[in-house]
């Protein structure tokens, strides 16, 4: 599992937002809006409630005035256009008042175990204002602008698991519907999307066209803070990847396809092609990648449209075709091949959690440990850490709102406070310090306590094949945005719009069912949405 491949991933039907909307569909869930206390200028609060897995959850949404000069997607922001709490149950007036007072303060506020998720979002100023103005004028917004932007607001943080006093994930981890990874966070962003729709309709005094509204997802701006999570949760990462790889292996093993499946694959491949034409970004390098992918996809389409689905093990053959193309094309092919096979693979979504954490079984001696390192970390042992390029970057936490950052070890201060994401270097150092003659592991650990982190990683890698990102995360060539894309693709994000190698904007829930569409048979059919308004 290399960074470049992680940085080419697409959402699949195993992505967490898809899993959530399927669950909402299966349960016949219904979103209600018991409170709408928004004034004529668009400020105030609203409450949305939904029942999932036998529990009620409510989104308390707070809309506040934000001067333009304070609007930033950074963690260091101190005010936002809107803020949100996913509440456990249905809040009474006192609880709504408590949340309305605290949510706009975000990290500076204080929350309780009834608050499950904390989030905030800023307007996409150009689209939000345009939509309101058009609705006020009795017109629908410009479809092209909706296609190009794709959301009315973008979240800049979606906090879960105990942050700032909200509930620990362990408290809800066994609840039906919320047991999967980031399920509460996905429920929150899907509900926030509804609030953004309602807010523009309230301000515009008219209803949005249903097709336009469905194409308005919820944006997100993600920075470096997301990357260390993948490194510090090796078992979880392995479980995500193992589910995906198992799903792929299952479909590749299919001996033949029936006509309806072939037809479905062709339809989806054509949809992917249109999605690619609608995916345009300002960054020239990334736009060039998209354009190269469009060309590669023409090759894939030719195989899918022609005889490519007729032979034995046709999907395995299709993957082999993709292996002659770019990693972007390979990853898009993976996502395509999984899409028609829900009955075969959707159950794997239940295997993507990690209720126990990293607890590797210790080995007896350093000789066994050496063998494990050489088996699983040959890529790390091959790195030359005397080369300054291999240690150029260091990860750190800034004292400024504890924002995760990345520095140049040879040009900036702070490397002495480096966050321990240098896994390859640590494993290599452990290997170097192992005694020539094998000795009991406890004896070695007592004399080398600094190697415990590397030791645990090695033991984890022996039982979790996708636990480790097999790249040097402190090398000059490490692009954090690759890690961000991987995690965001697992969330279900699309339309990746990198703003640098350290942060990206994305769109979530674009094309996802609107609340009153959850019961439709087509509610799950929104992989790589296209603009059909």
């Amino acid at each position: 599992m290399r960074l470049s491949r992680m940085g080419a991933m697409f959402p699949t039907r195993l992505s967490f937002l898809r899993v959530l909307t399927r669950r909402l569909h299966d349960e016949g869930a219904s979103l209600t809006r018991p409170v709408w206390n928004i004034d004529a200028t668009g400020y105030g609060h609203a409450v949305y409630t939904i029942r999932l897995g036998g529990h009620d959850y409510s989104l308390v949404a707070v809309s506040t005035h934000l001067p333009d000069h304070m609007r930033t997607d950074r963690v260091i922001a101190t005010a936002w256009d809107s803020s949100y709490v996913l509440y456990d149950g249905v809040p009474d007036a006192n609880e709504v008042a408590r949340i309305a007072a605290n949510a706009p303060r975000q990290e500076a506020g204080r929350f309780t175990e009834r608050d499950l998720v904390l989030s905030r979002a800023n307007k996409s100023v150009r689209l939000f204002n345009h939509v309101v103005e058009r609705l006020r004028a009795g017109q629908q917004p410009d479809a092209g602008l909706i296609r190009d932007v794709g959301y009315l607001m973008r979240t800049t943080a979606v906090y879960g698991n105990g942050k700032f006093g909200i509930a620990d994930r362990a408290l809800i981890a066994d609840r039906p519907g919320l047991s999967g990874p980031f399920a509460a966070e996905m429920l929150t962003v899907w509900m926030i999307r509804s609030f953004t729709h309602d807010l523009v309709e309230h301000l515009g005094g008219a209803a949005l066209d249903r097709g336009l509204k469905r194409h308005l997802g919820i944006g997100n701006s993600t920075g470096l803070g997301m990357a260390p999570f993948l490194v510090s949760h090796p078992v979880l990462l392995s479980n995500w990847m193992a589910a995906r790889e198992t799903a792929l292996a299952r479909v590749r093993a299919l001996e033949t396809l029936d006509d309806s499946t072939k037809s479905r694959l062709r339809q989806l491949a054509a949809r992917a092609a249109q999605h690619l034409t609608e995916w345009n970004v300002p960054d020239p390098a990334h736009q060039a990648r998209i354009e190269a992918l469009r060309k590669d996809w023409v090759t894939m389409l030719a195989h899918i449209s022609g005889d490519g689905l007729h032979g034995q093990r046709p999907l395995d053959a299709l993957m082999r075709v993709s292996e002659t193309l770019s990693e972007d094309a390979q990853e898009l092919t993976v996502a395509l091949l999984l899409e028609p096979f829900g009955e075969l693979i959707d159950g794997l979504a239940d295997c993507m959690d990690d209720p126990f954490g990293l607890c590797p079984t210790p080995v007896a001696d350093t000789g066994t440990l050496r063998a494990l390192i050489e088996r699983h970390y040959d890529w790390a042992l091959a790195l030359d850490f005397d080369d300054p390029g291999q240690t150029r970057q260091f990860w750190y936490v800034s004292e400024e709102k504890l924002e995760p950052r990345l520095g140049d070890r040879y040009a900036e201060p702070g490397a002495d406070r480096e966050s321990p994401l240098d896994i390859a270097r640590r494993v290599q150092a452990l290997h170097r310090d192992l005694p020539a003659q094998s000795q009991p592991l406890p004896e070695f650990r007592r004399s080398h306590p600094d190697h415990d982190l590397a030791l645990r990683r090695v033991l984890a890698a022996d039982t979790h094949p996708y636990a480790e990102i097999r790249d040097n995360l402190i090398g000059a060539g490490c692009l954090p945005v690759d890690m961000l894309r991987c995690k965001l693709a697992f969330f279900g994000a699309a339309k990746f719009d990198p703003k640098s190698d350290r942060w990206t904007r994305i769109t979530l829930a674009q094309g996802a069912p609107l609340p009153d569409e959850l019961s439709l048979p087509s509610a799950d059919d929104w992989w790589l949405p296209i603009f059909d308004a």
């Binding site: 698991n161 620990d168 470096l224 004292e399 702070g414 406890p442 645990r456």
Partner: protein, 173 residues
């Protein structure tokens, strides 16, 4: 004041790193600290462990936990291990943080000898550690943990603000 378990765990982990402990041991201490406080343990025990990075249960107890796992494989579900010095004050919560089914944990004090940790494991269970919804912690402890944790934060500079996270300053598009 009450906190989420994760808040205490994360803060204690950072504090241990700030105090000079290696990251893996700091992580284990974070989990143990939250459980210790949740069970009404004395905050002084945590501070004492953090005060001596060269000779601390924070270094020794992760080794003991591996001993438990090894002893379980070798000896079965009744495990007895000797403890170093005052490690008995934190050893039970380290053991409870293991994803094992525990039927019982007991510390046996023996005059003139090292105390002993007795554990009875449930062979059928592999359960995540049960955590309370809230943990109470005195402000003095939180302040000390924050002081230690701050040693892991890099002072902010204008350059790091602009380059470090790579984002623009305003996003009015």
């Amino acid at each position: 004041m009450s906190y989420s378990v994760t808040e205490i765990q994360t803060l204690a982990q950072k504090a241990a790193r700030g105090a000079g402990f290696p990251p893996s041991q700091a992580e284990a201490f974070g989990r143990a600290a939250a459980l210790h406080l949740a069970e009404g343990g004395a905050p002084e025990v945590l501070l004492a462990g953090l005060a001596t990075p060269g000779d601390s249960p924070i270094l020794r107890l992760p080794l003991l936990m591996d001993d438990i796992l090894r002893a379980r494989e070798a000896l079965g579900n009744e495990v007895t291990l000797s403890l170093h010095g005052d490690d008995g004050q934190l050893a039970p919560v380290y053991a409870r943080a293991l994803p094992l089914g525990l039927r019982g944990i007991d510390i046996e004090e023996i005059a003139g000898e090292p105390s002993k940790l007795h554990i009875t494991l449930d062979p059928e269970a592999r359960t995540p550690c049960k955590l309370p919804p809230r943990v109470d912690a005195p402000q003095a402890l939180i302040d000390r943990l924050n002081d230690l944790a701050a040693r892991t934060y890099v002072p902010a500079t204008e350059e790091s603000r602009l380059k470090g996270a790579g984002a623009g300053l305003t996003d009015n598009d």
